[in-house]
């Protein structure tokens, strides 16, 4: 385990969620969201690219961002389980986005003082992007949670389906602990207060309560993923794998 593995975890979170959001492109219920969701996807994929590049440089084996994204299998991906959850309906997509952004916004805020200047640089950009993701997803969670009978039922179902993946966000793998000790990445557990405050503000307006989670789901950081990630990667990597090194 080394610091570059910890950077890879964050990069995988951003790429996998970014790719999930991009799956809405052309399928969103209205033109406005058809642009809003890919906008957020591009923010995340942009961050992932910088992080892959940095992780590859620190690893020192000459792996490029494309090698990282397209030539690793499911078990080598280190993303948390939340980000790989399928899009489901709009309630699930927006709640997943809110959970992730509510965690990553304070994470990037703290990472601005990272001892790694690439991390500090990308943090400065990401913190603004994530602030908007909280606003956008938050407004939708409020409107769906406190909307029609149908939307409230769907948001409640999304909450039950996704809340079991929240705890993993705050867990630091051995690699992450190393990066935290070196002052490269912020301590994950320290994001709790800011996360809780963001969620409480949205949930109060949405009429939602964070459910009690008896058995939180973890494993993503050790490469143990749900079935969905393999399908997602198969699609995402298919062009690169069938035409290696192709450019256009």
């Amino acid at each position: 385990m080394a610091v570059h593995d910890a950077i890879l975890e964050v990069a995988d979170d951003c790429l996998v969620l970014g790719h999930r959001l991009s799956e809405w492109c052309g399928h969103a219920p209205m033109l406005e969201e058809d642009l809003a969701l890919p906008n957020m996807a591009l923010d995340l994929i942009g961050t992932a690219r910088v992080l892959y590049d940095r992780a590859g440089a620190l690893e020192g084996k000459g792996r490029s961002e494309d090698d990282m994204a397209y030539l690793r299998d499911e078990r080598e991906y280190r993303n948390c389980l939340l980000v790989e959850r399928p899009n489901g309906d709009f309630a699930q997509t927006m709640l997943r986005q809110l959970f992730f952004a509510a965690f990553m916004h304070p994470f990037w805020q703290a990472a601005q003082s990272s001892k790694d200047e690439v991390i500090a640089g990308v943090a400065g950009k990401a913190v603004k992007e994530l602030a908007y993701h909280i606003r956008h997803a938050g407004e939708w969670v409020v409107r769906l949670g406190d909307g029609t009978e149908e939307s409230a039922v769907r948001m409640q179902a999304a909450l039950l389906a996704l809340s079991i993946y929240v705890e993993e966000l705050f867990e630091s793998s051995p690699a992450a602990q190393e990066a935290e000790a070196a002052g490269i990445l912020p301590e994950r557990a320290a994001m709790r207060a800011a996360f809780d405050a963001t969620i409480a503000e949205v949930f109060t307006q949405a009429g939602l309560d964070m459910p009690e989670v008896t058995f939180p789901q973890t494993g993503g950081r050790t490469g143990l993923h749900g079935e969905g990630l393999g399908h997602m990667l198969a699609e995402m990597q298919s062009v690169h794998r069938s035409c290696p090194g192709v450019t256009w």
Binding site: P29, E32, H136, E139, R143
Partner: protein, 94 residues
């Protein structure tokens, strides 16, 4: 969609010192989502520093059938254009 979701007109100010300019319209359930939708649809390439959204229903438009009576009478009143002055070269661009 359009029957359930109101239409909003979007105005963007490209730079400080310029006025907001109409750029198009979007659908959104309320003013908060309308601003977000306007941001997402019309400022993807750094077009703006400020956004206004106005419910399309709040705009009163002139009647196209009255175009002749509204606008044609000005056509022969060229003396209203400030083009009859000699501007000294020293003034430069006005």
């Amino acid at each position: 969609m359009s029957q359930e979701t109101p239409l909003w007109e979007v105005f963007i100010r490209p730079r400080n010192g310029l006025s907001h300019k109409h750029v198009g319209s979007i659908h959104a359930a309320d003013e908060v989502l309308a601003l977000q939708a306007a941001r997402d649809v019309y400022t993807r390439r750094g077009e703006g520093t400020s956004i206004w959204v106005v419910p399309s229903a709040a705009i009163t438009a002139s009647d196209p059938d009255q175009q002749a009576e509204n606008f044609e009478p000005t056509a022969d009143k060229i003396y209203r254009h400030p083009t009859f002055y000699e501007i000294p070269d020293e003034v430069g661009h006005m």
